[in-house]
Amino acid sequence: MTLPRRGLRAIAALSIAVCLSAACSNADSSSPEGASSGGTYNIWDPYPQFDDSSDWVKLLTKCGTDAGVTVKRTGYDTTDLTNKALLAAQQGNSPDVLIVDNPVVSTLAEAGVLNTTDATAGIEPNLLAAGQQDGKTYGIPIGANTLALYYNKKVLDAAKVDPATVKDWASLTAALEKVKAAGKKGITFSAIGTEEGSFQFLPWFWGSGAQLTQLDSAQGVAALTLWTDWLKNGLAPNSVLNNTQTTSWQEFATGDYAFSENGTWQLANAKKAGFEYGIIPIPSQAGGTAPAPTGGEFVTTPVQTDTKRYDTTAKLVACLSSADNALTTDTTLSYVAATAAVQDKQVAANPDLKVWVEAVKAAKGRTSDNLGTKYPKISEPLWTAFQSALSGGKSPADALKAAQTTAASATK
């Protein structure tokens, strides 16, 4: 008789203790607290670099005050945020507003974490596409960034290259060769085996006319051959294989390199680099601006059990994406705005941004074309392919053929 009772007691004691340690009280952190009339609303963003004194957080607080609620903002590292958001959804405590990197939107939408939205007036369709799947829109771009080519004026002058003549791949390669002949180094980029590498490869891949649904097309092979030939001929350093966009920028900042493929977010660093720089769009194979992938985040609204919260959430989102506030945000983040009206204001204030606005207009979301959650399964074989071709393991054609086989079976 004693033993089962003992066992029962043990279980009771344990469950109480486990409960204590795991905080299984019923207090719902997101329920109204009464401090401010409307309660507390949670906003998560991937900008941990901004603290409470920054314009960004001040804007969030102000939007909350205007809507009559208190805003509790948490900044996460961007690589961390996807998993944090999925876990929060699993536990049923998603934030009211979630700001995430654009290729993640389709993943979260697929998971059923996000509400759809129709407040999309005025937003450039090519930017919005990254958040659309099967005709539904799951968020609003807060702004966009993309890639272009920074050049070092002094290095190009010394090699007698006029950046205005770089119009297509042939003229770019010719320019790189002249730079090399003049004793300087050609171009840096990031070809690391992660999403970051795919992001950097896509302007060349799309610029050849290739499609993500057919990695091993002749155009795709041409794009990869361009990169491998640059490495083989010493026009790009071997370290690109291990470069992130930051380390690639550091190479460019030494002042030895003519070109660097990098994004809007480096503008502030470019001004600090101590040499004259310029920016040109990434050329496509046949000439003209290549479609670069869009970077930048989407404002999304995760699904809540308490649907009464949605009204206030909508007010918060409207506040964040209103023209004036978007201008502040995009200036703070060094992004290009998502609407033509605000883009014009940005260029009027800072003519340097013109080339970026052009690049963003030509840009394309990675998850666009209704690829959605298929994109990550294509991106991984793609980065495996350029890593093996650049490191000399396989020829570009073989590497892409293998990649296509993997991608096709993964997205079936």
């Binding site: 003992r6 007691r9 043990a10 004691a13 344990l14 203790a17 486990v18 340690s21 795991a22 690589t79 996807t82 998993n83 999925l86 959804a89 699993q90 290729p103 993640v104 993943t107 979260l108 697929e110 998971a111 059923g112 974490v113 690391i192 085996g193 992660t194 999403e195 350093p237 071997n238 370290s239 294989l241 291990n242 190479e251 030494t254 959650t373 994109y375 990550p376 399964k377 991106s379 991984e380 495996t384 890593q387 093996s388 650049l390 490191s391 000399g392 393991g393």
Partner: protein, 308 residues
């Protein structure tokens, strides 16, 4: 517990006994809760993750269907499984051999207690004190193909530079070199303290018998250090099997998969892409646990044999 003093039932005693039991459980609870919350539950979750077919949707809704060993099959059938298994074995094996033999050599060297030996020994501990992100980033910078100091040195003595981190044939070697450097201090410290416990009379006796330095090492030091060596190697093995940060920071497991081990593969599957594959990721993690477990059991067996 109170069993030993339990005597025939006088009501007062029964009440006392009951309260004694409660007290016993109260004392036991912290450990049990700790074990369950931080060991048993995570292990169970990991096993559960690896036995279900998770998509992002079913992860959120918690209704992933049970799929048996499908995830393990996916992992083993993957073309990269055997190469990565070999990388894991090579990384662990080669790291252990070098860490242990260099650590042993240094321990014997420092056991002679010459002047400045304490200072020098302290210097050898530096790799252990540095945060891994610092040492791995430093190695990554030193081994950079174009601007790294190692290639600069090679070039200045007329040797062709090597693409340490970006060539498929060198990447694994590079991360092993860095890992050996980081692991030496641990081996040095443990083996050195093991050496302190060998009585000096044995060495004197050996010297009187005419044993030279080499013989003293192989006939006295090495056999007497066996228990210490075994635990050093076992701990080293467990640490090395799960090494992730060094590889991830230096090469991200690349180029292609040339320096991917099970630890980095598991991370890559679960967190490295935009769409997480928790099932296969957990499966690879469990394979690692099993590998460590096998060697743990071997160690226990060896120890039993030694005792008997």
């Amino acid at each position: 517990m109170t069993r030993a003093e339990a005597a025939p039932a006088a009501p007062a005693r029964a009440a006392k006994r009951r309260s004694g039991q409660w007290a016993a459980w109260a004392f036991l609870a912290p450990v049990v809760i700790y074990l369950i919350a931080f060991y048993a539950y995570p292990l169970y979750r990991n096993l559960d993750l690896s036995l279900r077919h998770y998509t992002v949707r079913s992860f959120v809704q918690g209704d992933a269907p049970f799929s048996g060993l499908d995830n393990y099959r996916t992992v083993v059938d993957n073309a990269t499984f055997w190469p990565e298994f070999l990388h894991t074995v090579a990384f662990t094996g080669v790291s252990l051999v070098f860490q242990f033999s260099i650590g042993m050599a240094l321990a014997v060297f420092f056991a002679q207690n010459f002047r400045l030996s304490a200072t020098l020994r302290a210097l050898f501990l530096v790799p252990w004190l540095l945060p891994l992100i610092v040492s791995a980033s430093t190695w990554s910078w030193m081994l950079n193909s174009d601007s790294g100091v190692v290639n600069f040195a090679l070039r200045s003595v007329g040797i062709d530079p090597v693409n340490w981190l970006t060539s498929p044939s060198w990447a694994l070697t590079s991360v092993i070199i860095a890992n050996v450097w980081i692991g030496i201090p641990f081996n040095l410290v443990v083996l050195y303290s093991g050496l302190q416990s060998i009585p000096s009379e044995i060495y004197e006796a050996a010297a009187l018998d005419g044993a030279n330095g080499w013989q003293r090492f192989w006939r006295v030091t090495f056999p007497l250090l066996r228990p210490v060596s075994a635990i050093t190697l076992l701990l080293g093995l467990v640490y090395t099997l799960k090494v992730f940060d060094i590889i991830w920071i230096m090469t991200k497991g690349g180029p292609t998969d040339a320096s991917t081990t099970f630890a980095t593969w598991s991370y890559k599957l679960s967190f490295g892409t935009l769409v997480p594959q928790f099932g296969p990721g957990a499966a690879v993690g469990n394979l690692l646990i099993i590998m460590a477990l096998i060697f743990g059991l071997l160690y226990i067996r060896m120890q039993r044999k030694q005792v008997s």
